[in-house]
Amino acid sequence: MPVRPSHSPAPTRSPAPLHLAVALDGAGWHPAAWREPGADADRLFTAGYWAALVAEAEHGLLDFVTFEDSLSLQSTDPDGPDGRTDLVRGRLDAVLVAARVAPLSRHIGLVPSVVATHTEPFHVSKALATLDYVSRGRAGLRIQISERADEVRHFGRRAAGGGATELYGEAADHVEVVRRLWDSWEDDAEIRDAATGRFVDRAKLHYIDFEGRHFSVKGPSITPRPPQGLPPVSALAADAAVYPFLARATDIGYVTARDADEARAAVAALPRTPHVFGELTVFLDEKPEAAERRLQRLDAAHGAAYTSDARVFAGTPELLADLLLEWREAGLTGFRLRPGVLAHDLPAITRGLVPELQRRGAFRQAYEASSLRGLLGLARPANRYAPGPDAPASPTAPAAA
């Protein structure tokens, strides 16, 4: 494989623009974020709070926002509540939040998180298809697994344990079922043929007949194929052990590379994943010292230094732009940024970082597509069950592998 020298001259062909997403969670990713001015922490459980954040992200022409979620109370303890009273606790269902803001936004992608290991893929598939309908093609899905013992007790129907490899295997099956269900209606299955009295052409509805280790699902979906065909699926890998899952199941993998070399390694490990995004927590101010000071102030309020699985960046939008473009050289196609404090760092992204990237020709000036797949440069996929244009006319012809 040719290795690019690290100090190569600027490429003659300008590389593809970056994709940017923002991860919305509570008042922001720093544990003391909710105590900051303007954090609106008493409104976390209202629709208006989320609508305002999404409007801000859309103002910045971002590709999409993600909504964090879980089936247990947030905790620093992996097995159950930590009993703390000084941190944001409680959250609303991410799919419902995304649906609630969909009619109030027009361009930005909406990507809720779903825990694959406790949910029914049949329900998830139709929920995301419906999010795609209510947003007119802007739905995406972030899949996660849960290893938490308290979540197992919340459902009470499966044994704890299994280990991450097993759980990611189950999640991959889950995604496979979700996607087959999205395809279980051909796009033109609804015929409304008054002459024969048939509303649908049942030949264009397909049983998915999925049989896996953990579950079997018959299909078809009760919801017709969503506008995007297959809404993009994404997942986070906090370590390389999760890359095989990203490779199998996702259109967008988020990786927590700490530097350009790690980014390059992640990209090399995921050659067929359409998008590999870097994941960073960001604290942005006009002066680097101001960002550092703010992070220290937050740490002091919290009583501990902030740590994260992802790299923590505190600095100016210009310096962040430098870093993102350097990592783009490593092959990343975009970034999912976790604002340290949503009230402060989300506008710093939309009003500081975005204009800076635009000045450098590295980010869009206007929304160029109406669907999330369109924004991500992903074509609308053909339906796996539909005969293609070159389909053999006779059913006895040998099937393509």
Partner: protein, 457 residues
């Protein structure tokens, strides 16, 4: 002094997967695009309706081993579409039918609590109990639930959900940046439920929602269903909209409430009904007949008969007489995926009754089906319809109606424009919403604490 006039409750059932919807009409739009839902919901809100209602079916219906293709097929996910509708309406209640067999309490309670937050207190849950193995094939758990257990699970599901809703009392979130206390106490949301159907414990992660608990509806009709409703529901989505049947059902169900320490106005009875409006009664009747012919095509009539006969009747002429042969005994295998609302009677008896009716009146198969599938329909001029609805409510045949128009999405428009103003003039229907929540619209008090629910610990 005469009794004060009862106030009517009205709701709108989004027409979809059923034999009411006339999809072949030139005015019929999409039953899946969000614009249809927006139009329908905003019309209902303009008319000051109590709520919008969505039914549910978790597997595409089949008949004779093939996907049923004569009715509308395809519907969106209930929670997702209701959450989106919360953004384009301000007052309208949002009622979703969610099954208690193919779901888990922690997840469903979270979804309803979230919907209640995101709608400012407008969520309602119609608990249905479909239990069949056919539907179960779409789910991890499979179709394991025996029919007899459906209400056991439903009851325990609802009790558990109430425990989760009640696990936050509403005062926990301080979000005080000065003191640094986000929560008043550590570990809110604690719950523990041990029963035959569920053995779960931990911490619910959605703070108490504006209504405390969503409003609860019930839709089953069996004795167990009625008892379940009397014990736990705020409203019933009923089947009986005529004067005699309605009064009998109303008296029966309301009579069961005292046993649970409840008063009659704590449970609203809202039968489903459709309507056809015309400038005159004669015109409406003629239109209604045309609608019925569109709803029940010859092919639809044969398919419908097969539900009862439980055998292939495709060789019969819909314009001819009823089959001489008797229904196939045993479990119905021909029609799968339909909520079994009319299947609990002996099919042989039903067939005999129908043959007698058809012979006496000289009805063909299609005419018989049109006759027997007609549910409560208010057909007439706006004044006739307003009087009929009001009459039934004042006579205690219902507390109001859940209206299912035959057209998507514009089927409610004329009703909103013509019948609603007449009901308002009669002083039996609101002109403005009194409060923000669905409980306000239905005149239901804030939920009482958990005390009434049987303990399962």
């Amino acid at each position: 002094m005469s009794k004060p006039l009862k106030q009517i409750h009205l709701a709108a059932h989004f027409p979809g997967v059923n034999s009411t919807t006339v999809w072949s009409d030139p005015a019929a739009g999409s039953q899946i695009e969000f614009d249809s839902f927006v139009h329908f919901a905003q019309t209902a809100e303009r008319a000051k309706f109590d709520f919008l209602f969505l039914a549910e079916g978790l597997r595409l219906r089949e008949q004779g081993g093939e996907i049923y293709d004569l009715d509308v097929v395809g519907r969106p996910d209930t929670f997702t579409v209701l959450a989106a509708l919360a953004a384009v309406t301000e007052h309208l209640g949002l009622t979703g039918t969610i099954n208690s067999t193919f779901n888990e309490p922690y997840e469903v309670a979270r979804q309803f609590a979230s919907l209640d937050h995101l709608s400012g207190g407008r969520a309602a849950w119609n608990v249905v109990t479909s239990w069949d193995a056919f539907t179960g094939e779409n789910f991890r758990r499979g179709g394991f639930l025996p029919r007899e257990e459906r209400y056991e699970r439903a009851r325990e599901f609802l009790d558990t959900a109430h425990e989760l809703f009640d696990s936050w009392d509403g005062g926990e979130v301080l979000a005080d940046p000065v003191s640094g206390e986000f929560l008043r106490d550590a570990g809110p949301g604690a719950f523990a439920h041990r029963g035959r159907q569920f053995d779960i414990s931990g911490h619910f992660n959605v703070p108490r929602s504006p209504q405390g608990r969503p409003v609860v509806f019930q839709a089953g009709d069996s004795d167990e269903g009625r008892e379940f409703a009397a014990a736990s529901a705020d409203a019933i989505f009923g089947r009986y909209g005529t004067l005699e049947e309605g009064r009998a059902f109303y008296a029966d169900v309301k009579g069961r409430l005292a046993r649970y320490g409840r008063t009659p106005d704590e449970l609203k009875i809202l039968p489903a009904a459709t309507f056809v409006l015309g400038d005159t009664d004669a015109e409406a009747r003629e239109l209604a007949h045309e609608v019925r012919l569109k709803q029940v095509s010859g092919a639809t009539a044969i398919k419908y008969l097969e539900h009862v006969w439980n055998r292939d009747l495709s060789g019969y002429d819909p314009d001819g007489p009823l089959p001489e042969i008797d229904p196939e005994p045993g479990e119905n295998t021909i029609a799968l995926g339909r909520a079994s609302v009319r299947m609990n009677r002996d099919p042989v008896a039903v067939a005999r009754e129908w043959r007698e009716l058809a012979t006496a009146r000289g009805l063909s198969i299609r005419e018989l089906v049109i006759e027997t599938t007609g549910r409560q329909s208010f057909d007439g001029s706006p004044l006739t319809v307003a009087q009929a609805i009001d009459g039934l409510v004042q006579a205690d045949a219902a507390d109001g109606f859940i209206l299912v128009p035959h057209l998507t999405p514009g089927g409610l428009d004329v009703f909103a424009d013509t019948v609603v103003p007449l009901l308002q003039e009669r002083g039996v229907f609101r002109r403005e919403y009194d409060g923000p929540t669905l409980r306000d619209h239905l005149g239901l008090a804030a939920p009482r604490a958990r005390a009434l629910a049987p303990a399962h610990r």
